[in-house]
């Protein structure tokens, strides 16, 4: 249910902007639609590779083993391994969360799982290469990765200080 609302909202925004553009001028509208559609077309091979491919890469990950690498007593080393694991996990919407949740159930420490999901969300290498670099100026991508490097560790430290989750 929720997913349809989110998708819908994205289209509501696109349509509102489209109406504003159309009210400015017909050509502006037509050119923008063509530009946007062309961008999307150019992205399709990548998305296909990213989404369909990540399933196979994920199938090769030893998911039950991943959890043991960052168990509750793995401490700072575990946090480093978790962040590295997040970096190597393929992108896409679910894989990092499903591995993280499985690890948590399998006895992994919460700070480690937090570091893992934050690292995966911020700089999963496959997502960087296939989606981000082609769409954004490369300098912006590298700067973003550099600025995000400390965040998984800050997240783990925050979780340890709070004693939660």
């Amino acid at each position: 249910m929720m997913i349809y609302m989110v998708d819908g909202l994205l289209w509501v925004i696109a349509i509102c902007l489209g109406l504003i553009a159309a009210s400015r001028s017909r050509t502006l509208f037509r050119d923008s639609v063509r530009e946007g559609a062309m961008d999307c077309l150019r992205l399709i091979p990548r998305i296909m590779l990213g989404v369909i491919g990540s399933g196979y890469i994920a199938a090769l990950l030893p998911q039950d083993v991943v959890g043991h690498w960052f168990g509750a007593d793995s401490g700072v080393t575990g946090i480093f391994i978790a962040a590295l694991g997040g970096f190597l996990t393929p992108g896409g919407p679910v894989i990092g969360f499903s591995i993280g949740a499985a690890a948590l159930k399998g006895g992994a420490g919460a700070p480690q799982v937090l570091a893992y999901t934050v690292a995966w969300a911020l700089f999963a290498v496959q997502r960087l290469m296939i989606w981000e670099i082609p769409v954004m100026p490369p300098r912006l991508v590298w700067l973003r990765v550099l600025a995000s490097l400390p965040l998984p560790f800050i997240a783990a430290a925050g979780a340890m200080l709070l004693g939660k989750p």
Partner: protein, 197 residues
């Protein structure tokens, strides 16, 4: 292109042409991933058999079909934003001189921006192309990635449950601001070093 991200550059004149990153259908990074995918798929086929191979394929194809309309919507939003958004507004609120406020605004924008995977990147690129500051753009992406409600509600909550997600969100709250400020510091440091100072 490089000069566009320098912190002390002149504001763009409103009539300056919009530079969009050029997008080709394929490049080295996609090629590297393609190789990894083909190898992984072959290993899965050999190790787990045809049934498992097809199961993954069908699951991922349906995910792909699900994602496609979102990507189209995001690309259209990016194209409209590029032509509709007044540059002076972007420069004033999230431009190079916008300070911490610009980063906070970008963080809030990232939280409320809907969309699934990938949709944020074309939109962020469009804002940078019309004059948004690098630090603000990075805060925007980080915020969307870690705090975006769409991702939390649709993807994260079903896996982790309320308590974990609540505390993760609390811990992640300051992160977009940290990333944005850090990015600005790196830019300042590298320009100063580049200028020989």
């Amino acid at each position: 292109m490089r000069l566009r991200h320098e912190p002390h550059r002149e504001p763009l004149p409103p009539e300056a042409p919009i530079k969009r990153p050029k997008r080709t259908a394929f490049d080295w990074s996609s090629a590297a991933i393609a190789v990894a995918v083909v190898v992984s798929a072959a290993v899965v086929y050999r190790r787990d058999g045809q049934a498992r191979f097809l199961e993954i394929l069908f699951g991922d194809v349906s995910l792909f079909i699900d994602i496609l309309p979102k990507v189209l919507a995001a690309c259209l939003i990016a194209a409209f934003v590029a032509v509709l958004m007044p540059r002076e507004v972007v420069l004033r609120w999230v431009g190079a001189e916008s300070g911490v406020l610009g980063i906070v605004i970008a963080t809030l924008a990232g939280i409320i921006c809907p969309g699934g995977p990938i949709t944020i990147f074309p939109i962020a690129a469009a804002f940078v192309a019309i004059g948004a500051d690098t630090g603000a753009a990075i805060a925007f992406i980080t915020s969307w990635t870690l705090l975006g409600y769409a991702r939390i509600l649709v993807w994260e909550l079903p896996f982790f449950g309320g308590e974990f997600v609540f505390w993760r969100t609390i811990v992640a709250l300051p992160m977009p601001i940290i990333a944005g400020l850090l990015a600005r510091a790196i830019v300042t440091w590298s320009t100063r070093k580049g200028a020989g100072g």
